[in-house]
């Protein structure tokens, strides 16, 4: 059959096909558009998958290591004790209170552990009654000195108190509580595309606080001696109050005898002299002349040390005197008094120091005696023996017992004149015979 015969053959196909083919052929355009949208989306997804597939295949699967068990467990302290009591020393009972907290946190799967708080307070110390307290040690000691109420009087109150946890420390004991906090963070980035950070916070606080409070209040007003002008007489004394009646015994106590030492200085100094209590008494006021000691009265002599320095051609300081009051401490020794034996021989915590500086037109001077008079003033007797061509600075360090009252603004310097020198030395010689040196 050829093509023409085939076409003739098609004349015998069903009439429905002929009429359907002859009818208008309308296509539904909406379907075409609807079909286009998912097809486009599928194509885009295929392109994206094709681009990412090779990359996904090359990446290693992320592995999650097992969490460290130790990091998830709270860290315990060895000395864990909650509300218990410990007795670090015999005879001491304290309440234990230790503080320990542990917090563990991780990015994956691990959770922060709960915190535990334990407290521990360690008490350490010995018990001593207050009456046998030694300076520098702990103890519930209160020491208060009497106070003058006179105007201008120096008020000195000394109290020493050491406290510990209330109700937990035997009086006289020291409670020590220590607090320490440690933290630790661990960061372990994982190789690859994932960075893993594990943070572990460990805070362990052991309550250990040392509390030792020493209250020592000293209030004192120091009055510097008024300036003496060069026009004024070189050697003057401040106002003296003549004492005609014996001073109360409480005002005069026997100061510990001590050896006066002389600090090195640049000019020949007189030999080491001693001092002590004696019949040396106050001189009439305003005259500047040292009179014989009045009847009665026994001025308190004080241990002192001195240091002499020559100041060349410095008239500005001539005749000046300055007084500084301070509490002595071995960590703050005034310049020039490093070799003072009193630092070792005396319990300096029982003394108040006066640093008296005297500027005179002489190249040779020394302090002979320092004493407390009936009025509470301290007098330093100085002897000038050199040639009046240079100026000198004589520094006298006086140790005043806490049990002895003195008036800081009544400190003065008196020069031993030629007139009474012999007498002085005579008196001093008498004193030397009666001295008993405290070793």
């Amino acid at each position: 059959m050829n093509e023409l015969e085939f076409m003739e053959l098609l004349s015998e196909i069903p009439a429905e096909y002929v009429e359907a083919a002859a009818a208008p052929q309308k296509r539904r355009r909406i379907l075409r558009k609807l079909y286009g949208i998912p097809v486009a989306a599928a194509c885009i997804a295929a392109v994206i998958a094709a681009a990412l597939y090779p990359r996904l295949r090359t990446e290693k699967p992320e592995t999650v290591p097992k969490p460290d068990e130790s990091s998830a467990v709270a860290e315990m302290t060895d000395d864990l004790s909650i509300g218990g009591t410990t007795s670090p020393d015999s005879g001491i009972t304290v309440t234990s209170a230790a503080y320990t907290s542990m917090t563990a946190a991780a990015d994956r799967s691990t959770t922060a552990a709960g915190s535990e708080h334990t407290g521990r307070t360690t008490a350490k110390g010995g018990s001593e009654p207050a009456d046998s307290e030694r300076s520098g040690q702990n103890g519930n000691t209160t020491q208060t000195t009497a106070v003058h109420v006179n105007q201008g009087q120096t008020t000195k109150t000394t109290s020493k108190q050491t406290t510990g946890p209330t109700g937990a420390v035997t009086p006289g004991m020291t409670a020590r509580t220590t607090v320490a906090v440690t933290t630790r963070a661990t960061t372990r980035p994982q190789a690859g595309t994932t960075a893993k950070v594990t943070t572990r916070l460990t805070s362990r606080t052991t309550a250990r606080v040392t509390s030792r409070t020493t209250a020592r209040v000293t209030s004192r007003t120091t009055a510097i001696a008024p300036t003496i002008t060069t026009a004024a007489p070189m050697h003057t004394t401040m106002g003296w109050n003549e004492v005609t009646t014996p001073a109360p015994s409480m005002m005069y106590t026997t100061a510990p005898e001590a050896i006066m030492t002389e600090a090195p200085h640049t000019s020949p100094a007189p030999a080491t002299t001693t001092h002590g209590s004696g019949p040396w008494g106050p001189s009439p006021s305003g005259s500047g002349v040292n009179d014989p000691p009045p009847p009665g009265g026994d001025p308190t002599t004080l241990p002192f040390a001195q240091n002499l320095q020559i100041i060349t051609e410095d008239a500005y300081y001539s005749g000046r005197t300055s007084v500084v009051v301070f509490e002595p401490a071995v960590s703050a020794i005034p310049e020039g008094f490093d070799e003072c034996p009193f630092w070792d021989s005396l319990d300096i915590s029982d003394y108040t120091c006066l640093l008296v500086r005297y500027y005179g037109k002489t190249d040779e001077a020394c302090a002979v005696v320092a004493s407390i008079n009936s009025d509470g003033g301290i007098t330093v007797h100085i002897e000038s023996m050199g040639i009046n061509q240079n100026y000198c600075e004589l520094t006298v360090l006086i140790f005043v017992p806490h049990s002895t009252f003195f008036e800081a603004d009544a400190c003065r310097v008196e020069n031993i004149t030629e007139w009474n020198r012999e007498r002085y030395y005579q008196d001093v010689s008498l004193i030397e015979d009666s001295l008993t040196l405290e070793e």
Partner: protein, 178 residues
């Protein structure tokens, strides 16, 4: 009904209803309006003579078939290629690709068997592709007209027809007719 009643109005009605489409088919095959008109007249005479006793179910298709057959006979007898008109040369050329076979040139093929096979082939085609095939090879409509009617591009029409012919050839070979 008018043909059964031997009413000459039937011819007028036939021309008015199916005349345009029938002339188009004849024109597509013969390539000439005059020849298409002559085919139209021959088909009307044939229909007047056949009805009754014939009672076509689809009169329009029946009449179109009469017109087409006359056109094909005229084409075959009247040297249509020489006239250079119509779509027949192109359609025949297209069908020759799937029908012509050097091995089956001299083989006598029962017409009825061929017809039944083609019917089955057309029944298996989707409706749109079937309409497209019939429009091209039964109506002998030009590609441009088919592209407009089917809202397709001419290239798409050609590609679709080519695929249908391929399926026809495969079908005929499967049934041993090629």
């Amino acid at each position: 009904m008018l043909f059964e009643n031997r009413n000459e109005q039937a011819l007028a009605e036939t021309v008015s209803q199916y005349g345009t489409r029938c002339r188009a088919v004849a024109r597509n095959i013969l390539g000439s309006e005059e020849d298409a008109e002559e085919c139209m007249n021959d088909a009307l005479l044939s229909a007047w003579n056949a009805i009754p006793p014939a009672h076509p179910k689809h009169y329009g298709a029946y009449f179109q078939t009469l017109v087409r057959n006359f056109a094909l006979k005229r084409y075959a007898a009247g040297h249509a290629e020489k006239r250079g008109g119509g779509q027949m040369p192109l359609a025949l050329a297209e069908l020759s690709e799937c029908l012509a076979s050097g091995e089956n040139v001299e083989r006598t093929i029962d017409r009825r068997i061929m017809l039944e096979s083609v019917k089955r082939f057309l029944a298996d085609l989707p409706e749109r592709q079937r309409n497209l095939f019939v429009r091209r090879y039964w109506h002998a409509a030009p590609i441009s007209e088919i592209a407009v009617d089917f809202e397709m591009s001419e290239i798409n029409v050609k590609v679709t027809l080519s695929r249908i012919r391929g399926r026809l050839q495969k079908h005929l070979r499967k049934e041993g007719l090629l």
